[in-house]
Amino acid sequence: MIALVLIVAIVAALVLLGWLIPGVGEFFSTAFWGGAVQGFEAAGMQQDWAYGLGTLIHILLIALPLMLAVAMVIYTERKIWAAIALRRGPNVVGPWGLLQSFADGLKVFLKETIIPSSANKALFLIAPVITFTVALIVWAVIPFDVGVVLADINVGLLYILAASSLGVYGVIIAGWASNSKYPFFSALRAAAQMVSYEVSIGFVIMGVILWAGSMNLTAIILGQQGHVLGLLNGYGFNPLLFPMAVVFFISSMAETFRTPFDLVEAESELVAGHQTEYSSMSFALFWLGEYANVILMCALNAILFWGGFLPPVDWEPLYAIPGIFWLFLKMGIFFFMFGWVKATVPRYRYDQLMRLGWKIFLPLSLAFVALVSGWLMFTRFEGGAL
């Protein structure tokens, strides 16, 4: 509870800050974001070079804070679990233990990377890099505000689906290259689980795409403005899409191999799953990738169903607060829910996992695709008369 209050307080303080000082909002706005490219061009650079350099800066602007966020998020999550388990959590390194993650990071950084003698060396080392890279590339299309996005592409949602489906390769390759029993089982589980839940995620997303009429994430968010009764910003408030929001939330936990779907690294069965043979930085890369993915899934939940950078209620004064704070607030809430679930729900058995994915989510999401498209046909396209 303390941790929850802490998060809410921090976010509320940020919100207040953004509201009180207009400059902070300006900092995250389009003007600043687009400024880099224009600035380089004005300095006499060729257009494509300016574009390239500007993009590089944008990438760093997203990736570096993200890595920092991962460190803090791990600390926060440990605090949440501790609170739920009536423990204290990390409280030694730094004030309130805030520097715990950095201490952990330093530790793994200084350790030796051990490569098992029978491992497939190249693949063994590539696997964590893949996990880490894939977790980062998805952020390219996430809009933090109108226009504040690295690549504002038409098929953004498809890009996310495509990129997130690559995440499984890190696990599979790690499992196979380790040349060890447990990682291999873990790889097999990961492959099956990923493919199963991607199906329902695809169908869930289809409902959103149908309603928004676009695959561009900014367009999807803006389409949610005043979506319900002209008052609430978010597809999730729509009774036809709320069940899909729940399915998406659960599937996103399965997609990131989080409890209760963490069979991939079920410690009672598979030691540490695909990470069993990993040590030092290669191990840390898995962790960074995993948490970057978790934050990403929180962002996706916020963007697809709960209005992204829009305030929850379509009320003019709320727009004074920069959109990025709303997005972070929503991500924070989802992150808390992820941690909450992890601390309270027991792990699924493998057949139960498959049952949930194929026998419940798939038919349910399929039915809702039909429902949503039928509803849209009647309300938006004059009863299907083409």
């Binding site: 038409n154 498809l158 890009y159 689906l161 489906s165 499984v168 493919v195």
Partner: protein, 200 residues
């Protein structure tokens, strides 16, 4: 300039990884090179402005098909020495087929320089290729589209027919039974005397 550089990068990598698919000694490596090839092919599509197809390629082939390939290949127990023993025997046939295909491609490319018999320029519209494809698929090509759906249905029925077994000796978990159970009949409150125990 970046466009040209990107094209040659993707094209070279596609061909290189295609070659490595064949020459990799380990089948798992072959599949991984195949994935790299898919990736670069998707990059080439992107350069052509077909972003929808490019991402579909990544999503379907890299994200699903190749995962299953890898899944199967990882579990194979292949004797590589035995596998390669037939190499010299099958080499002439393989070379022949390769030569025929090469000749065909060369001929096709030289013939293509004369241009198609019907001048068919792609219509330039403001439509994104996603909506253009969607519109074609649901109007002009409705019939093949629906039939493809039936093909997938056949694949599904086939997979079930060929692999599903009714095993009588397995007691599966029936979750709806568990959920439907009433606490009233599932729980019995007793206060046994000490040393007596409970009659079950």
């Amino acid at each position: 300039m970046i466009g040209i550089f990107a094209f040659y990068l993707f094209a070279t990598l596609t061909i290189l990884s295609g070659i490595l698919v064949i020459f990799a000694r380990n089948p798992v490596h072959s599949v991984l090179w195949l994935i790299v090839a898919f990736f670069n092919a998707a990059g080439l599509m992107l350069l052509l402005g077909a972003e929808f197809i490019a991402l579909l390629l990544v999503m379907v082939y890299v994200g699903a098909v190749a995962v299953l390939f890898l899944f199967i290949v990882m579990m194979l127990d292949i004797d590589f020495a035995k596998l390669r023993s037939g190499f010299t025997r099958n080499l002439p046939i393989g070379l022949l087929i390769a030569l025929v295909l090469l000749a065909e491609m060369l001929i096709a490319i030289t013939a293509a320089n004369s241009g198609p018999l019907i001048g068919d320029q792609p219509a330039s519209t403001a439509q994104s290729n996603l909506s253009a494809m969607g519109e074609l698929m649901y109007t002009r090509y409705l019939v093949p589209f629906e039939l493809s759906g039936i093909i997938l249905l056949v694949a599904m029925i086939g997979a079930i027919v060929l692999t599903h077994r009714d095993r009588g000796d397995v007691r599966g978990q029936k979750i709806h039974h568990q959920v439907r159970r009433d606490p009233e009949e599932a729980i019995r409150m007793t206060t046994p005397e000490s040393g007596k125990g409970v009659e079950l």
